[in-house]
Amino acid sequence: MGAVLPLFPPIASTYARQEDLLFYFLVAVTLFFVLLIFGSIFFFAVRYRRRTPDERAQPTRPNLPLEVAWIVIPLVIALVIFVWGAKLFFVAMRPPAQAVEVTVVGKQWMWKIQHADGTREINALHIPVGTPIKLILTSEDVIHDFFVPAFRIKRDVVPGRYTTAWFEATTPGTYHLFCAQYCGTNHAAMIGSVVVMEPADYERWVRARTSPVLPASAGAVLFQRLGCSSCHQTNTNAKAPALAGLFGQQVTLADSRQVTADMDFLRDHILTPGKTPVAGYPQIMPTYQGQVSEEQILELIAYVRSLARAERSQGGS
């Protein structure tokens, strides 16, 4: 940062390195064709300029091999770029299993970030170098977009659902965080910074925090307070399904569709239970639309997920 005329963004994540490679390849392809085309324009312009008003041109004859060549060669190049680009995309979309989760809630015009241990930050994200971080993003109002140029990652933050992104920072430093999806008046002010720290520094930063509440624990409190527990009890009763072990399972819906109980499912179920009614139960669950904030929903989900964990560890695995 700070250079007067920077020409290339900092490279600060594993993905950035991979992405830049394709970018360089594309630049090479562009240069090749631009030189080819500008070059031939200039060459033809000089070589075949009209010398006398009545000069006659060469006759135009079909040339099939030539035509095939300039269809096939670009096609091959295009397909190479496609495959390469798609592969990269899958890299960017597939967080490693051990990635540390960070939840991000966008709202006009700020970023609310919560770490897995419950620490909250606003418009800033502190992370250790060399650790894959998985972002779980959602929005309170309109679509935003979480964009860190130094990492070459960007992901729309869509209200009503969760999107994910991940990165592994490679170079300590402070980098720009931008909102890249137009979201209203102060879109340009919805910025922040991502601070990448050496593990030791990061540990110090973590220690300095006032002991935050784990999202799952906060969720457990909410679960009581909102009255979820009055229906969803730990021992399976007929009133409502037990939630332990639910997360990540296949659930059969009343219209006999199968869906995975992922975060979106849980979210939908809290806000619009009628969207995915579970088979075998009366649909008496009320909606909590308007009664819980996005952060609270995330905490409830963390709690339900932790139930899954409790289940597993009781099962002795």
């Binding site: 033809f44 010398r51 295009a78 798609a86 009503g160 340009a188």
Partner: protein, 536 residues
């Protein structure tokens, strides 16, 4: 003038305002369009100027954020819906399509006039929305911002765009039917000038795509007024559904903007190289190919939006496939230049500039279509640079090329050649200075629609603004000398470029009925003389 003077030219056939406002002559309607879109262009350009002035400093000193947001929204809306989409089709297409196919008029002259009125009414709605409260949604109207959160005058704007869409549909309809039913005898499909093929492909998109935009906008307006919830996640709606509908039209719409320019190229390149086109069939079918495949790539605007990654892959692949027909065209023009006898009149300078800038713009489209790279450059100035390269460097240059090329036919006068060339060169240079820095800015990560930015981006932004002022001169010059030429320009004669094509076989300006007798076509298109065959 003797008494046996043949039919008067369309310009002399009736005077007074009513003879223009109630005309059904495609040539006069084209001029109505010309005047209106030039007006809209400069309106849009003023907004562009204000954007560039504001971005001179990192804090964005000129205006407040909200005002800036209305600037780029109005800039985008006006430039796209009120300038570029109607530019070549409704002005040049309207004027030359019947001439080129040897018809007396379009199939539905009244509808043609109606579509101009619709255009104006739509424009008035949009402008009044701009005046009363402004719009700040961006030209893309993304929900739920546009449908719920924006406090600006979205409904009025949406009505304006809805209305202008019908103008586009009617023009497209008219062109399609005219091309099918009104060709002169001997004018077979494969004797049609390639400009007509391009217009036909364009019309196809207008007719099949625009209604979807209309629906989308109706839904946004209803959503805003009645809170239907179709796009509102808090009521169970899906904002991505909006994006699908929007881009189903708006991606093909970018081909509405470029195809006509590509068509103009095939006319100017052959005329000024005086050589028969290379690969007629390939160019003709590539226009149709672009129109059809162009409908299947809309999701490339949504790679990071949260749409399914599998669909994203499909869209990415198809985006690469749609680049091939464009490549075919470029290479065919190069092959036409080869061995030609090239003259550098203004239309040709614009055309050569077009080829170069379109190539750069198109190739940078490949960066965007490569999903992995798009993650980084999506919604940054890289995209802004990409589309200005194609739309300003490409489509607008194509429009200028066509306007200069047919100017003698339209007005009967030649524009001053020296000024024309000067303007073409200034435009080319100013253009690159304006928009090349934006590629760098984009890759550095400067997001678009930002009213202020981190200080390290300033140098490039200043360069860009400096370029814009040069570009502005490049656009103002033609207005001056073209107006001047209306009275003072040299009289052109029917065929100043010694071009082939029916439109050059009738006087300039043509009589109201276009031709004195229904023309009969006996030649292949672009039969320019060669060393071998002596064509006379």
């Amino acid at each position: 003038m003797s008494m046996v003077q043949t039919a008067p030219s369309y310009l002399e056939d009736g005077h007074g305002l009513a003879s223009w406002l109630l005309t059904r002559d495609h040539k006069r309607i084209a001029l109505l369009y010309l005047v209106s879109i030039i007006g809209f262009f400069f309106l849009g350009a003023i907004f562009a100027g204000l954007i560039r002035v504001n971005l001179l400093s990192p804090q964005g000193d000129l205006v407040r954020p909200q005002t800036y947001n209305t600037f780029f929204t109005m800039h985008g809306l006006i430039m796209i819906f009120f300038f570029l989409i109607p530019s070549i089709p409704a002005v040049l297409g309207n004027f030359v399509l019947p001439l080129m196919i040897g018809a007396r008029d379009l199939a539905f002259p009244k509808i043609n006039l109606l579509s101009w009125y619709i255009f104006i009414v739509g424009g008035l709605f949009t402008i009044s929305a701009g005046l009363f409260g402004g719009v700040d949604t961006g030209w893309t109207f993304y929900t739920p911002f546009s449908s719920i959160y924006s406090n600006s005058n979205v409904v009025l704007t949406v009505i304006g765009i809805f209305i202008v869409g019908f103008s586009s549909i009617l023009t497209g309809l008219n062109f399609i039917i005219t091309t099918h039913t009104m060709r002169a005898s001997g004018m077979t499909w494969f004797r049609l000038p390639l400009f007509i093929w391009a217009l036909y492909a364009t019309s196809l998109i207008m007719v099949l795509g625009t209604p979807v935009l209309a629906t989308t906008l109706v839904l946004v307006a209803l959503e805003r007024v009645f809170h239907l919830g179709i796009f509102d996640p808090s009521r169970g709606g899906d904002p991505i559904y909006f994006q699908h509908l929007f881009w189903f039209y708006s991606h093909p719409a970018v081909y509405i903007m470029i195809l006509p320019s590509l068509g103009v190229m095939s006319e100017t390149i052959t005329c000024f190289a005086r050589r028969r086109i290379f690969g007629y069939n390939a160019i003709a079918f590539s226009s149709l190919g672009i129109a059809v495949i162009g409908f299947l790539v809309w999701g490339h605007h949504m790679f990071v939006s949260g749409q399914s990654v599998y669909v994203g892959m499909m869209f990415s692949l198809l985006s690469f496939l749609v680049a091939i027909p464009s490549a075919i065209k470029v290479f065919n023009w190069m092959a036409t230049l080869y061995g030609g006898t090239i003259a550098f009149d203004t239309p040709m300078l614009y055309s050569l500039g077009f080829i170069g800038l379109f190539t750069v713009g198109g190739l940078t489209g490949l960066y965007l279509a490569a999903m992995g790279v798009d993650i980084h450059v999506h919604d940054t100035y890289f995209v802004v640079a990409h589309f200005h390269y194609i739309m300003v460097g490409g489509a607008v240059m194509g429009f200028m090329a066509g306007l200069h090329y047919w100017w003698p036919k339209i007005t009967g006068r030649l524009y001053p050649e020296v000024w024309g060339r000067l303007a073409a060169i200034i435009t080319f240079l100013g253009f690159n200075l304006t928009f090349f820095p934006q590629f760098i800015l984009g890759y550095l990560g400067m997001p678009r629609r930002y009213h202020m930015y981190p200080p390290e981006f300033q140098a490039l932004n200043v360069l860009s603004s400096a370029g814009a002022s040069i570009l502005g001169i490049g656009y103002l010059l033609p207005v001056i000398y073209l107006l001047w030429s209306l009275r003072r320009g040299q009289v052109a004669g029917p065929n100043p470029w010694r071009a082939t094509g029916l439109e050059w076989q009738t006087p300039s300006p043509p009589p109201t009925a276009n031709f004195e007798a229904p023309p009969v076509v006996r030649e292949e298109p672009y039969s320019y003389p060669t060393w071998e065959a002596q064509i006379d």
